[in-house]
């Protein structure tokens, strides 16, 4: 306790330096928290899960992927031959599946304004909470409204849209509007864009990866595509299965790829890794160049501050030695000062980033999604602050321990 008070008094004496160093560490800890948020989010996408594994089904050979919905039916329809084989696999759950078909719409009649465009996933509404990552807690009643919208009562025209996208489009829950498809056209010679009517029946959370996306009913899309003779009617882009564990995912994937040669079945983590492959170099740079560089700069700043302190307080250290303070105690005092600065700056940096980025900015915008700073930033910050301060303070503190009383006093004299 005496030590802590002593250290605090020392820090208070050099108030300007204390504040400047804490500010510097705070800013760097904030940067570290933001960078690490992105790195850890990407890592979580590409890390295989042990249980409740999502398997993704795609066209084996082409991107954008698309395949007949009938293939998905063969997998999940009870009493089918393939379904029968899959049911023998422990961990396969035939009711845990969904399909996705991506559609790009615009509210702009001239189809030019990018700000009026939105991206919708046509799916089975009741499966949204069951099968969509981060939407497990989504209200199932809203999904029912996609099928039976309360205002227009027109079947299947309900739309659930991310809060961010609703705001950008100037729409709200209850609004009914027509939208033109950029990606899907009539199969007639005129190739006019397909127009569909929507009623917004719910909003996806403003936080998380779905803040700019939208979900619509696949039944509605399929009906319209058939009616307009679009080449993609009856097709889906992606199929999803939820199985118990990795072993089940491997076994299910093996059976599906053997029986349906046009499909590939792999875990979501494996698919994300492949899509992120072109950016491997960038992520490597962020992880192994940027993050360590931030830590090194933090270390240098604390080392500099402590080195200045030691140089200015040479006489004081000599007096402490005369009073009986051993090398160990002096080392602890000097290092303690540095670590206290590091922890304080790190706590402020990590905590403020968590509060400001999540609370004020609604997450870190990156691409179409928003990354949220993890609550762990409250300990990342102080931890990185303490570690860098300990490393940075070590040499100057060791220098203080080695100060010779006779040399200092001869200089003073």
């Amino acid at each position: 306790m005496q030590f802590v008070l002593f250290i605090l008094k020392n820090l208070r004496r050099g108030r300007a330096r204390t504040i400047i160093t804490i500010l510097a560490v705070m800013l760097l800890a904030a940067t570290f928290s933001m960078v690490w948020t992105v790195v850890s989010a990407l890592q979580s996408f590409t890390t295989e899960k042990a249980t409740n594994v999502r398997a993704v089904l795609t066209d084996r050979y082409r991107i954008p992927s698309r395949f007949d919905r009938g293939l998905m039916d063969q997998i999940v329809r009870p009493h089918g031959i393939l379904n029968g084989r899959l049911r023998k696999i422990q961990g396969f759950r035939p009711d845990k599946y969904t399909i996705w078909h991506f559609v790009f719409f615009t509210l702009d009649p001239d189809m030019k304004d990018k700000d009026l465009a939105f991206f919708a996933i046509a799916t089975i509404p009741e499966k949204i909470p069951v099968m969509t990552e981060e939407l497990e807690a989504f209200d199932p009643r809203l999904c029912q409204r996609v099928v039976s919208p309360p205002r227009t009562h027109k079947p299947n025209i309900g739309l659930i849209m991310g809060a961010d996208r609703l705001r950008k489009l100037g729409k709200k829950v209850g609004d009914v509007f027509p939208a033109r498809s950029i990606s899907h056209r009539e199969g007639t010679a005129a190739r006019r864009p397909i127009e569909m009517e929507f009623e917004v029946v719910g909003a996806l959370p403003a936080t998380g990866r779905w803040s700019t996306a939208a979900f619509m009913d696949y039944a509605y899309l399929d009906r319209v595509l058939k009616d307009k003779k679009n080449e993609e009617d009856g097709q889906v882009h992606i199929g999803w299965l939820l199985v118990d564990d990795q072993a089940a995912a491997t076994a299910v994937g093996g059976v599906i790829e053997k029986e349906l040669r046009e499909l590939r079945c792999e875990t979501a983590a494996s698919a994300y890794s492949r899509f992120l492959e072109p950016l491997k170099g960038v992520f490597w740079g962020i992880k192994w160049l940027l993050t360590p560089a931030i830590a090194i700069v933090m270390t240098l700043i604390v080392a500099n501050a402590i080195a200045i302190t030691v140089r200015e307080r040479g006489t004081e250290v000599a007096v402490l030695k005369v009073l009986g303070f051993g090398r160990g105690r002096i080392l602890v005092i000097i290092l303690g000062e540095g670590m206290l600065l590091g922890v304080a700056g790190g706590l402020l940096g990590g905590g403020l980033t968590h509060g400001l980025v999540n609370g004020v900015a609604g997450g870190l915008p990156l691409g179409d999604g928003r990354f949220h700073v993890s609550g762990h930033a409250w300990w990342w910050g102080p931890a990185i602050g303490a570690i860098t301060a300990a490393i940075g303070g070590l040499l100057p503190a060791w220098g203080a321990c080695r100060i010779k009383v006779s040399t200092v006093f001869s200089r003073v004299a």
Binding site: A24, Y61, R62, F104, I182, L279
Partner: protein, 402 residues
């Protein structure tokens, strides 16, 4: 004026703090250059897309050719016939009808009993490869030839040929039923087509595109035409949607790739944001050093004032010292950062519709990047030194000497 040597010697005397501060600057500046060089490399790539008179035609509303579909029917020829702006080679218009797609090539497992690996291949189906090469200004490397309408030949960019480890005459299988022979390798370094394989339009449409044989539906994703010059291209891009029954978007090819590279602007924004925060951190480090320098040289300042130096000169002296310190660290950072110039990287150009084009490009450290980094260094030096220099300027001579 206080001699600069005085400041320089002070930095040498306090070499430990000078070194710690300068190394911090070096790291910040070097990182800034790496991040800027990455973005600059992608931007430069988007500018090397072919002749300035090229116009790219997509289906109405599409911003990425991956999501464009132009039905291959009796009307589609309207897009390249009877437009006086479009150049000709012999009796043919300089127009390339293309279908662009991404294939997933299955590779053998790494180890026996393992699962298959996959690799993305960017494939462009073209109607007439020679014309397509002319339109995109991509010649073949010596020994190669454009493939014919029959047979199973393809040509490919230099970058993808190196990635696949193939050369003229080699075979490769993008999917099990297709055995392609490389008829030529394009001299495509530094262009967005460096990672592409060009094959017959029918094969790409059938195996990798949206073509539906049962319904007899075929599609182009893209038509690229070459006009006389940029002015003619701008005129055609403006007027084409009104001249044809097919609903299209027509833009300059250079503008199309510029738009694709706009996704890099977000990266640039993030890079600058991170660099600024790091720089402010580094600046505080400098401020600490300079405050310490002032407090240790109170008597020096007093003497200087007594012998006639004015407060403004004291301010200038400490500011110069701060700038010198920043410059030493910053210049070292510039040198280290310059090391990434020309380093090949893979990146993605995206149109914002979820598509994207994987490109191999060289990172570029040019005058613009260096100017940015140098300005950054000097700004950090000025801001970091300002408060301590002001404190030194305000010192009263007699009090400083006590």
């Amino acid at each position: 004026m206080i001699p600069l040597r005085y400041n320089a010697r002070n930095l040498v005397v306090r070499w430990k703090t000078t070194l710690l501060t300068a190394v911090g600057f070096t790291l910040v500046v070097a990182l800034l250059i790496v991040m800027l060089a990455f973005v600059e490399g992608l931007n430069q790539l988007s500018k090397r897309t072919g002749p300035p008179g090229n116009v790219i035609v997509l289906s109405d509303g599409a911003t990425d050719e991956l999501f464009s579909s132009l039905a291959l029917d009796d009307k589609v020829a309207e897009l390249w016939t009877n437009h006086p702006e479009i150049g000709r080679v012999g009796d043919r218009p300089l127009a390339s009808q293309e279908v662009y797609s991404i294939a997933t090539q299955e590779l053998p497992p790494d180890k026996e009993g393992g699962s298959a690996r996959y690799r993305f291949l960017q494939i462009r189906g073209v109607e007439e490869p020679r014309v397509a090469g002319h339109v995109h200004a991509l010649p073949l490397k010596p020994g190669g030839r454009w493939f014919s309408r029959t047979g199973n030949e393809v040509v490919m960019g230099d970058g993808i040929a190196r990635t696949l480890g193939v050369n003229t005459g080699d075979h490769f299988k993008p999917r099990p039923e297709l055995d392609w022979i490389v008829a030529g390798v394009m001299d495509s370094r530094g262009s967005p087509f460096d990672s592409e394989i060009w094959a017959k339009r029918e094969e790409v449409g059938r195996y990798f595109g949206k073509d539906n044989e049962e319904r007899k539906q075929s599609f182009y994703t893209t038509v690229v035409v070459t006009t006389r010059d940029r002015a003619a291209a701008e005129k055609l891009a403006r007027e084409l949607p009104g001249r044809t029954q097919v609903k299209v978007t027509a833009i300059l090819e250079s503008k199309y790739y510029e738009e694709l590279s706009k996704s890099n602007q977000a990266f640039l924004g993030a890079a600058i944001f991170i660099a600024i925060i790091m720089a402010v951190g580094g600046m505080f480090g400098l401020m600490n050093t300079m405050f310490a320098a002032v407090s240790q040289r109170l008597k020096d300042v007093g003497v200087l004032r007594v012998i006639g130096y004015r407060p403004a000169q004291i301010l200038a002296s400490f500011m110069l010292e701060s700038l010198l310190l920043a410059a030493v660290g910053g210049l070292l950072g510039l040198l280290i950062g310059y090391g990434v110039n020309g380093v090949e990287q893979t990146g993605v150009m995206s149109g914002g519709q979820g598509g994207g084009k994987t490109v191999v490009f060289a990172m570029v450290v040019n005058a613009r990047v260096l100017t940015w980094a140098l300005s950054f260094t000097l700004a950090m030096g000025v801001l970091g030194g300002l408060l301590p220099a002001l404190a030194a300027m305000r010192l009263r001579p007699l009090e400083s000497l006590r």
